[in-house]
């Protein structure tokens, strides 16, 4: 039981990290980035190629994250420009459809070029005992990474001027413009941040198990569920929802079975939309 809950927390932190990248972009510009999972995969494939060339795992991780940042910024500077010229629901819909298209392009190209592509970063060492349960070093690294990223984000949004600027754009785009903040620049930075998070997710996930080229759609789905349950636009909500869903997922998979578990997760998302559309911690 304890082992299952701990597994759930490891998974939940990964879910949370995944959700944050998506929720930031939504909170800022009202765009649900359906290509998010494919960006994660792109980072993983790039990192695996770097490892194949004989570089160290740390270098590969860095290059992978940078690749995800680059891809994300590219998306922002090209496809997202016409999206941001729209307003309200029209903007969200166009963003949804264009990123869906981008997801197919990125996913298709990767699957075509690297059909057997996968990233698995092996972290050596004996399992470490956490409250009496032996945990693999990879899982602990992955969780520590997620927690560290969460802490950095908290400081960034709470204590830095730029972080506050980002929050001001989330709250009121016009108001932010009036006090001298350039929303379009802020959006590009947030897209870059979201890409970096996608890269970190790829690296952290590959420490607990191989990340294959076909996982993109599934990752996007999980990110979407976490984002919706946590409240679209809420960073803390995404982490909370990630943890919650991770534990529910582990418990349900252990006691009920995998297919029903997916339905339980999907049901949680649907119920959240119906009962509390702004999510756990949404505004």
């Amino acid at each position: 039981m304890r082992a299952v809950v701990l597994d759930g927390i490891v998974l939940g932190l990964a879910f949370g990290l995944l959700g944050v990248g998506m929720t930031l972009v939504y909170g800022l510009g009202g765009v649900i980035n359906l290509a998010y999972g494919q960006i994660v995969i792109a980072a993983a494939i790039v990192a695996s190629l770097v490892i194949e060339r004989g570089e160290s795992q740390a270098v590969a991780a860095g290059v992978g994250v940078l690749a995800a940042v680059g891809l994300s910024v590219l998306l922002d500077l090209t496809l997202m420009r016409p999206v941001y010229r729209q307003h309200g629901e029209e903007r969200t819909l166009l963003g949804l459809l264009l990123t869906l298209g981008a997801a197919f392009v990125i996913g298709g190209l990767l699957a075509w070029r690297y059909p057997a592509g996968a990233l698995y970063i092996f972290v050596g060492g004996d399992p470490i005992s956490v409250i009496g349960v032996p945990m693999s070093v990879g899982s602990i690294w992955a969780s520590a990474t997620a927690l560290a990223v969460a802490a950095v984000l908290l400081v960034f949004f709470g204590a830095t001027t730029f972080g506050r600027g980002v929050r001001s754009v989330i709250q009121d785009e016009t108001g932010a413009r009036l006090v001298g903040i350039n929303p379009s620049f802020v959006r590009t930075v947030i897209f870059a941040l979201s890409g970096a998070l996608a890269g970190v997710v790829a690296i952290a996930q590959s420490m607990t198990g191989p990340l294959t080229v076909n996982a993109g759609f599934e990752l996007t789905t999980f990110a979407l569920i976490v984002t919706v349950v946590g409240g679209l636009g809420s960073v803390a909500g995404a982490f909370l929802a990630g943890l919650l869903l991770g534990v529910v997922n582990a418990l349900s998979a252990h006691y009920i079975g995998q297919y029903i578990t997916t339905i339980v997760l999907l049901g949680a998302a649907a119920l959240t939309i119906l009962i509390r559309p702004r999510g756990l911690l949404g505004r």
């Binding site: 649900i32 496809l79 459809l97 981008a102 979407l224 029903i260």
Partner: protein, 342 residues
């Protein structure tokens, strides 16, 4: 927008005649296609049937999304409700095919109507309707995989009692689905011409204004969802019988929904023939690209992006506007019942 002449009599009749002309042309075209082109090739016939099936899904989806702005990302799941409903009934009981088709269609209509009712009651916008229906699609797929005894899971389900002359690679099957498509088109156009069509157009253009003008937006949304879902479910159920074999992949999100969305958007959302033209064009494209599934995916992505960036009203509509501007300036178009996306 439509002309508002209320003269009645011969003029009214002529208007209706004009409105149904495209369907007559389509029906004639579909009728002569097998003898002049592929009458003896089962392979080509099955491709044509596939295109007809997707065009039929497209008409249903078009009614729901194109007419009343409800983003239903569960076309595959609704077709699956119809298909598995019919297939399981056929296998578990000795009822005839017609009973299975009726049950499948009714189940899909009920599910679609319920989804729409929930969306309307909770006043979910386009996006949340999209997410809820997407969640339904994924949940349905997992349900199919999980209920191994009833659905056969990934290995699929062989449907008993399939009439051989309606198989999906025979000319009989072709005419079954061609007839189905023409029937759907007639229903679609009849709805457009009736008071329902006026309500659809009003709520599509401006929901608040429509509500203020006395259109019961919620009710018409649910109507559209029930009729559209019934169309999708009926197509899925007939496909189950015609193919004789169904699996979760037959109705999966990435196989059905994405294609339907791309096709309908290509042909023009909310237009009568948009789904038909889209299905035709993509049948040819698929055939050309059958070598690489991955590259086909890339192409779909490029199409989605191009269509929504540059041809918001559909590629066909763009050509029609060009034609109108250069070829027959000053002439009024015949009753134009196509709604705009703007």
């Amino acid at each position: 927008m439509s002309e508002t002449r209320k003269a009645g009599g011969p003029q009214q009749l002529r208007r209706i005649g004009w409105a149904f002309l495209p369907i007559v042309v389509t029906a004639a075209f579909l009728a002569v296609l097998p003898p002049v082109w592929f009458g003896d090739s089962p392979y080509t016939t099955s491709l044509a049937v596939q295109a007809l099936v997707f065009a039929s899904y497209g008409v249903g989806f078009n009614l729901i999304f194109g007419s009343t702005n409800q983003l239903f990302l569960c076309v595959g799941a609704l077709a699956g409700v119809g298909g598995y409903g019919a297939g399981i009934l056929a296998n578990e009981s000795s009822l005839p095919m017609a009973a299975g088709v009726v049950v499948g269609t009714a189940s899909a209509a009920i599910v679609g109507g319920t989804l729409s009712w929930i969306a309307v009651r909770r006043s979910l916008g386009i996006i949340f309707t999209g997410i809820v229906t997407l969640v339904f699609s994924l949940g349905f797929a997992n349900l199919l995989l999980g209920q191994r005894d009833l659905t056969g899971s990934e290995t699929g389900l062989i449907v008993d009692g399939v009439p051989a002359d309606l198989a999906d690679d025979s000319v009989g099957g072709y005419y079954l689905f061609a007839g189905l498509l023409v029937a759907f088109l007639i229903v679609f156009r009849a709805l457009q011409l009736s008071h329902v069509g006026w309500a659809f157009r009003a709520l599509h253009d401006d929901e608040v204004a429509a509500e203020l003008a006395g259109v019961n937006v919620s009710r018409y949304r649910i109507y559209a969802a029930i009729v559209g879902s019934a169309m999708i479910g009926l197509t899925g159920a007939l496909l189950a019988y015609s193919a004789g074999f169904i699996s979760p992949a037959t109705y999966s999100f990435d196989r059905v929904d994405v294609r339907v969305l791309v096709m309908v958007a290509f042909g023009g959302l909310g237009t009568l023939l948009g789904p038909v033209i889209g299905a035709g064009v993509f049948a040819v494209l698929d055939e050309q690209l059958s070598a690489s599934l991955e590259l086909r995916e890339v192409l779909y992505g490029v199409f989605v992006i191009t269509i929504f960036l540059f041809f918001r009203r559909g590629v066909v509509q763009a050509f029609v506007s060009l034609f109108d501007r250069f070829v027959r300036p000053g002439r009024r178009t015949p009753p134009n019942l196509q709604s705009s996306r703007e």
